[in-house]
Subunit: 432 residues, 2 copies
């Protein structure tokens, strides 16, 4: 059968990995594709001395790859919004399929790009954009098609999970571990995308669209990072039988769809609570299949390359199909499901209140909580720590609407005996 | 687009689930397929009162479904070798695609059936045959195509995992838990397929073929069940930081491919060691992606239906493709990889020896072990139990060729002080 010619744009970490895995496993990849798949053209502003480009045409201008008449599939591995978006549009305009690992591009411009691809009858594949080498897009978009997906919850940022794991296992502070993660190259010099949850929100946007058949709506994701998690909260969570994980959560209820990224207490018995270090995992609850989980390396040169190459082979295998897999899993969007405002979301809460150790404080707090229809599952009052005249008071709530909790916190913070802000971390059972 | 008409054969547990999920989620399934997918013909020897067959043609003779000119896809859910095999061949002869959940049929007759399908240009899809609703076939055959798969290890029999979990968590005996599993309907009246590992061997055969590009070779799988696992071993394993799980293992080495199903000690820290109850999980190690794991319900009406319907939609989406996904992942078999005899397999071992508490016994055993080139990682000698004049002696070995261990055990059992057979359980680190 006619070979599939691949044009690769970008020779950074993932580009290098893609080239190297393609070259190393070429024979088996071709046996699996059923036709030869080969990189014929590379576009990169500069050479990468660790790449073997023998027999491959090289262009300094990536747009030459998109215009190369010999190329069937353009692989975009340059990252960022521009010129990545122009490159993808140019490739589509020239009738080429596109493979990308660019989560930001898909989450923010995906609706427009997919429309352009559909008009031209080409595919944009983006498995590598979420959870690196874990085939989670494929699982959701193909493996679980029978299901009405109820919810999904993912550890989808390796840097954040590394930081929380180190804080829990070694008792270290957030700042200390972040500095190490930066030194190890896990976190960028500007760690905002990782620790403030933006990277996870990009990925959650994509997963939720596929799960629920809704358009990509990155600007509707509630996003909260892990930079305010303290060692005290990590320890209290552990005492209570929970772990704190930074989760991307998408849930469908009668009221609408919840899209949220935030630190979350989850029961330590859950398998996903034991996913540690830079590893990623996504737990998906379908009405027919029940819970399923997908685990592996969510970043890195070769894990990401694994997903990029799987997409290339998918394109090669589906050439000629009347129909194929829709870009976001559904052939049309559901227009009757709204994204809920965070205030309307119902979940459980961990509240840590530092109060002066005076008679009546507890009663005041209990009254406020009860006035806002918040049912308490557990209360723990700790001894004052050395040198402190306040006692930490931990409340675990039953399910309640977020805006009620926000209002209660505001009142609690207004009490004379409460002098520091209340810590609020959401809590999920993840049990169906 | 033209609808896809499905003929469903068998209205048992999985047939009922398939019908019910198709009916419940019809609208979304059609939005995902991009064309209507509908069950038009059911073949079943008798009615199932919990099935709504309104508007569906019903035949008592399943072969009428295979010959129905209106049917595009025949779903075989009757199980067993015959008449399932004849039904599949008849469907293929009539140019229909086939979806099956029948692991025994695929493991034993798959090579022949796939050949027949390829000659007719139709597909046989069998996601439901391994690990129920977990899309593990799809992950291996499509999601991980870039990888040279090093090994995979799966908890792929829910009944076996339920029994081992109960033994560990509640200190119960094998026979006791098995009786309960039978009462609960998890285990068949004849539990041999589950507890002696035959069911797991069927599934491992399929996974190994896809992972390594080798023909299905069920008769080459080394198969050992869990019926000899005692409460003592479960407890010793726990003390040593391990869990006993019944694993299907496939590994590629320079010498050949290992295909084996047996109880296995694995470090309790591994995520897969914490997969409990009837749940399934498969851990796959690829050279590019590293470790990935897939977890969920491996059996049951709707979890299995989830995989059956995913296959139907896959068929609907791939109609017209020049090429598609090869049945076993590779377009041709590798003929130069042999399956190793179990005696040639290299792994670690847990040996439990009951020896009379006499001077010199330990020295004798140590000499035997050393003569067979077995390096010991740990030795534990326990106090004699009440009413027993023997002491349990636990040896954990480093990696060694199985035939050396077999020879050493034979000699140890020949010692006058050793009056009961040595218990031998293999041990795997599963760390890459």
């Amino acid at each position: 059968m006619k070979p599939v010619n691949v044009g690769l744009c970008g020779l950074g970490t993932v580009g290098r990995g893609t080239l190297s895995v393609m070259q190393r496993n070429m024979q088996d990849i071709n046996r699996r594709s059923g036709r030869p798949v080969r990189i014929t053209h590379v576009g990169a502003r500069r050479d990468n001395p660790s790449c073997d480009l023998t027999g491959i045409k090289v262009s300094r201008d990536i747009f030459e790859v998109a215009r190369d008449p010999e190329v069937d599939v353009v692989v975009e591995l340059i990252g960022g919004y521009e010129p990545a978006k122009q490159l993808v549009l140019e490739a589509i305009a020239h009738g080429k399929h596109v493979v990308t690992a660019n989560k930001a591009l898909i989450a923010v411009h995906g609706n427009e790009l997919f429309r352009a691809a559909e008009e031209k009858g080409v595919k944009i594949a983006y498995e590598a954009s979420v959870a690196g080498g874990i085939p989670i897009i494929k699982a959701l978009r193909e493996g679980l098609v029978a299901n009405d997906i109820q919810w999904l919850a993912g550890i989808i940022n390796g840097t954040g999970n590394f930081i929380l794991t180190e804080m829990k296992e070694k008792g270290r502070s957030f700042d200390d571990v972040l500095a190490e993660a930066q030194a190890l190259g896990y976190a960028e010099a500007d760690p905002t995308f990782d620790v403030e949850g933006i990277d996870a929100a990009h990925k959650l946007t994509i997963l939720a669209s596929i799960a629920f058949g809704i358009p990509l709506q990155f600007d509707r994701v509630y996003t909260e990072g892990i930079s305010k998690i303290t060692q005290a909260d990590v320890q209290f969570a552990e005492e209570l039988g929970y772990r704190i994980k930074h989760l991307g959560l998408a849930r469908k209820s009668r009221q609408g769809v919840e899209l949220r990224v935030h630190p979350t207490l989850i029961p330590e018995k859950r398998l996903i609570a034991n996913v540690n270090g830079v590893l990623n995992a996504v737990l998906v609850e379908g009405d027919a299949v029940g819970p399923t989980m997908y685990y592996g390396r969510g970043a890195g040169s070769e894990p990401t390359a694994s997903a990029v190459i799987a997409d290339i082979v998918d394109v090669a295998r589906s050439i000629g199909a009347d129909n194929g897999v829709p870009h976001l899993g559904f052939s049309d969007f559901s227009t009757n499901i709204d994204v809920l405002d965070m205030g309307e979301v119902e979940t459980c809460y961990y509240l840590r209140i530092s109060a002066q150790d005076k008679i009546g404080v507890m009663a005041n707090i209990a009254q406020i909580v009860s006035r806002h229809n918040i049912n308490i599952e557990a209360i723990i009052q700790k001894e004052p720590r050395d040198n402190e005249d306040t006692v930490p008071l931990i409340l675990l709530t039953h399910k309640v609407i977020e805006k009620n909790v926000v209002a209660a916190i505001q009142e609690i913070e207004g009490l004379a005996e409460v002098t520091v802000p209340v810590t609020r971390i959401r809590m999920e059972r993840l049990d169906g």
